[in-house]
Symmetry: C2
Subunit: 243 residues, 2 copies
């Protein structure tokens, strides 16, 4: 059934992805784009959009003049770094059944780094929300969100801090999160962080230091997240671009 929303490309992507996991292609060879187009009753452009997406995810690779193939190595990539939207989804993609625990909600004066990132004055009140994402009682991700109190349309806190940040901002600040600009920062976990993540202090970890922007490119939240490397490892495909 051809419908819009999800888009044709979404549907074709899901369809091919399912065929890949069902091992539905002989020798890992995916049919020519023209065949796929006529089989599925869509244009070649739509097929190509779907295949491009799968190629970026690492699920397939293409060789001009030769064909399109399943990439068995790429299947180890559970999620693209750039497409992570919520950590619940991230953990689900890795095969976990995530739960969320709110560790702390409090107001505090804004530190310099956050003030700089969010365009505030140091000392302006911000709401701190510290959360832990767990797989079956084992902590995997620790996050600290900093939201300017001035942005709230209803007074915090309200007890629903366990919902995803983007939903929380939408509900309480009437600001839709459009994207994050993230820095990848290697750290050594201090005693507090290690305790929360249930590892030894001094364990190396990857962290995100990131600012969330709305559709008008205004900063609305600063977040810092720490990942347990033994439970969550990021993978990506690097290839030559352009010339």
């Amino acid at each position: 059934m051809i419908t819009r929303n999800p888009s044709l490309t979404d549907q074709v992507t899901a369809h091919i992805k399912q065929l890949i996991s069902a091992d539905g292609f002989d020798d890992g060879r995916i049919p020519p784009e023209t065949d796929l187009a006529s089989d599925l009753g869509v244009s070649r452009t739509t097929i190509r959009d779907a295949l491009s997406r799968l190629e970026h995810e690492g699920a397939i690779y293409r060789r001009q003049g030769a064909g399109t193939f399943v990439n068995e190595h790429g299947l180890r990539i559970k999620s693209r770094l750039e497409n992570i939207w919520s950590y619940e989804e991230l953990l689900e993609n890795h095969g976990y059944e995530p739960s969320v625990r709110v560790l702390d909600v409090s107001q505090a004066p804004c530190d310099l780094a956050t003030a700089d990132a969010l365009g505030l004055e140091a000392g302006d009140p911000i709401l701190l929300v510290e959360k832990l994402f767990l797989e079956n009682e084992t902590p995997v991700v620790l996050t600290l969100n900093r939201i300017p109190v001035a942005n709230f349309t209803t007074p915090p806190p309200t007890g629903d801090e366990d919902i995803p940040v983007y939903a929380y901002l939408d509900t309480h600040c009437d600001r839709k999160l459009a994207y994050y600009l993230s820095e990848i920062v290697p750290v050594v976990l201090d005693t507090d962080q290690a305790g929360r993540l249930d590892v030894e202090p001094g364990t190396p970890a990857m962290s995100f230091d990131e600012v969330g922007y709305d559709k008008h490119n205004e900063p609305i939240v600063r977040a810092t997240s720490f990942f347990r490397d033994d439970l969550l490892r990021f993978r990506l495909i690097r290839k030559r671009m352009g010339t």
Copy 2:
């Protein structure tokens, strides 16, 4: 001048990128796609391909129904993680003038992790090439490449290990590097690594543990790289995908 190779899309991308850095757009607003298409004498599809690329690089953002805009925050992204091809280019993108120093070239029996990654037997001979990428005498990236000796068509070593790995493999192994599958691993630098990178032992660092594949999806090299976080920080844009 309309020519092929670089492709039209490449040329349009470069053109718009240049206009952005020259601040050639009022209020950071980029003209409608139809205008760009007729101005540059190409189809709207070509314009859209170029804009999509710039959007992924973080240089612009698009709002359906509203327009396309320069993303001043995104300009801090010096290079997309997924488009890094050589560390020389990476450093150049960050505004450095890189130099390369070959620290060590030697043969050794293959360790288990490398054997597993490259489909060898433990103990098979591999060539180890340790290199340092510097900016003005300051080390920034340390890499260790492991190449199966069996792949060489001419006997190593040959003294040209300072050329990029992809060129080295092409020359001596007759195997073209198609892509890397990389794992991002946070580490604490040991005494050796820290000494080579000229930092204190115990400094946290990001590392890549990666396998390079040829166009037939056969592994041909395993590399481990360490980055000085104070000189090279990776940034990316995270946004919602699909639905």
